[in-house]
């Protein structure tokens, strides 16, 4: 029987109350949303917070909406809502393609966008999605609200820019015209973490790639991205040769480790193949040639 170590349980009914509770209980307190990352870690005693602050009551952080020239996703948005969102489907297919392969429908009913990002598992899928899209995280402390680029959000495995008395409010993604996006993941079995996964968006101007983002997870890519491959593609013609060269760069520049999911060379091979597919699909979608 797996049981978490004892903890104190608090419930926040507002963002301010959550911050006040974090401040009062100190560094050994943790926020819990869906709990589908944190509770399994607590059962294994890999996480042992002394106080859990339940923020499931913060339904005002559950939204996906256009705000100015960005799409904002509230931290309490459940994965199932991301998968089903017509707004996200219209602008970024990468979301539904990633969500479809995150855990299973029951877990997606409960797990949240904010929880996944703040858990900061090095194999997490949405981290690669938001890194590819160069989103930014909006974080609130008692002293005010600040914004952090998603590419500076992760400080290491299971560590983020969110401080001990702060809460992630939302993630914002720029809306881009003439853009296609895609997510490609290989897993050992349905619902598992990635062996490797690559997400991309490509913006097209005529035959030229005017902007591009590449997100990579589970293989030690710095900031869940590949800046070198993006630089290589930006301004170049949208050809199969350019895509192949960028995919090879992705494979070279990541840092996979050998584990039960496979050896290093296999993972690099996967990254190259998946990056090639994600970029090719993104280009076709940007051109309106693929659904």
């Amino acid at each position: 029987m797996q049981v978490p170590a004892p903890f104190e349980y608090e419930r926040a009914t507002s963002v301010d109350e959550a911050i006040a509770l974090l401040t009062r209980h100190g560094a050994d307190a943790r926020l819990v949303a869906g709990g589908h990352s944190l509770l399994p870690m607590m059962k294994l005693r890999l996480a042992r917070p002394e106080t859990l602050i339940d923020i499931n009551g913060l339904s005002d952080l559950d939204y996906i909406r256009v705000d100015g020239d960005e799409i904002a996703l509230g931290a309490m948005t459940r994965h199932a809502a991301v998968l089903d969102s017509p707004l996200l489907a219209e602008h970024y297919r990468i979301f539904a393609e990633a969500e479809r392969v995150i855990a299973d429908p029951l877990v997606r009913n409960r797990g949240t966008v904010g929880g996944s990002l703040c858990q900061a598992d090095p194999s997490e899928d949405l981290s690669a999605v938001f890194s590819a899209l160069r989103g930014r995280a909006v974080i609130r402390a008692a002293s005010g609200t600040r914004s952090v680029d998603l590419r500076d959000f992760h400080r290491g495995p299971y560590e983020t820019a969110v401080g001990p008395a702060e809460i992630l409010l939302e993630v914002r993604v720029p809306i881009r015209p003439r853009t296609g996006s895609a997510y490609q993941k290989v897993e050992r079995r349905a619902g598992d973490w990635s062996i490797a996964a690559v997400g991309a968006f490509v913006q097209i101007d005529g035959d030229t790639i005017s902007d591009v983002g590449i997100g990579i997870t589970a293989v030690g890519a710095e900031h869940f991205a590949c800046v070198a491959a993006e630089d290589q593609l930006r301004g170049s013609p949208a050809t199969p040769e350019a895509v192949a060269a960028a995919a090879a760069t992705c494979a070279r520049s990541c840092h996979p480790s050998a584990d039960q999911r496979g050896p290093e060379d296999y993972k690099r091979h996967l990254v190259e193949v998946l990056a090639g597919r994600a970029l090719t699909q993104s280009i076709a979608r940007a051109r309106g040639e693929a659904s």
Binding site: P6, V32, H36, D54, V107, R110
Partner: protein
């Protein structure tokens, strides 16, 4: 801490440790052992119950998170008669050992409430968080289809009876 949870329409309450999981609250505090406790790692789905109408894995939900909320378990499926999903599992031999069955049925009921006429691919996707260790998926899918077909027939008969 004290929790009050509406379970299958009835008020329940208990003084519990904060770390008590919802599955153990249902089974040990309330004696509702229809909800099965399986892998304990949010993989197998045997512990699936509804929380405010949404199927979730109760081994990865704290009982405290259900405080003030509504839970529906497999015991809450049966009305005057068996729920069509339950009847479907009977008719189509949808269970062998029966361990996954409560979770399967709670997921299937939620699916049919949202999508009364799901095709096979939709059913497979919907139950992908519920594992059958007997690998009896074919008959489970037939059971869900049986329920969908019979509910559609019942609805049509109701409408005819009402003169619609």
């Amino acid at each position: 801490m004290h929790v009050n949870v509406t379970v299958n329409g009835a008020e329940t309450g208990a003084d519990i440790e904060a770390r008590l999981l919802l599955v153990h609250y249902l089974r040990n505090e309330l004696g509702l052992t229809g909800t099965h406790w399986g892998c304990d790692t949010s993989n197998c789905g045997a512990c699936t119950v509804w929380l405010d109408g949404v199927p979730v894995k109760s081994c990865t939900t704290l009982a405290g998170m259900a405080d003030g909320h509504e839970v529906r378990t497999v015991e809450g499926l049966e009305g005057t008669d068996l729920d069509p999903v339950q009847q479907g599992f009977v008719e189509e031999h949808g269970l062998q050992c029966g361990f996954c069955t409560p979770g399967m049925m709670m997921t299937a009921r939620a699916l049919l409430d949202r999508d009364p006429d799901p095709d096979e691919a939709t059913i497979r996707e919907a139950i992908s968080g519920n594992l059958c260790r007997c690998t009896g998926y074919e008959n489970i899918i037939r059971a869900v289809r049986w329920a969908a077909t019979h509910e559609a027939a019942a609805r049509a008969a109701d409408q005819e009876g009402a003169g619609v």
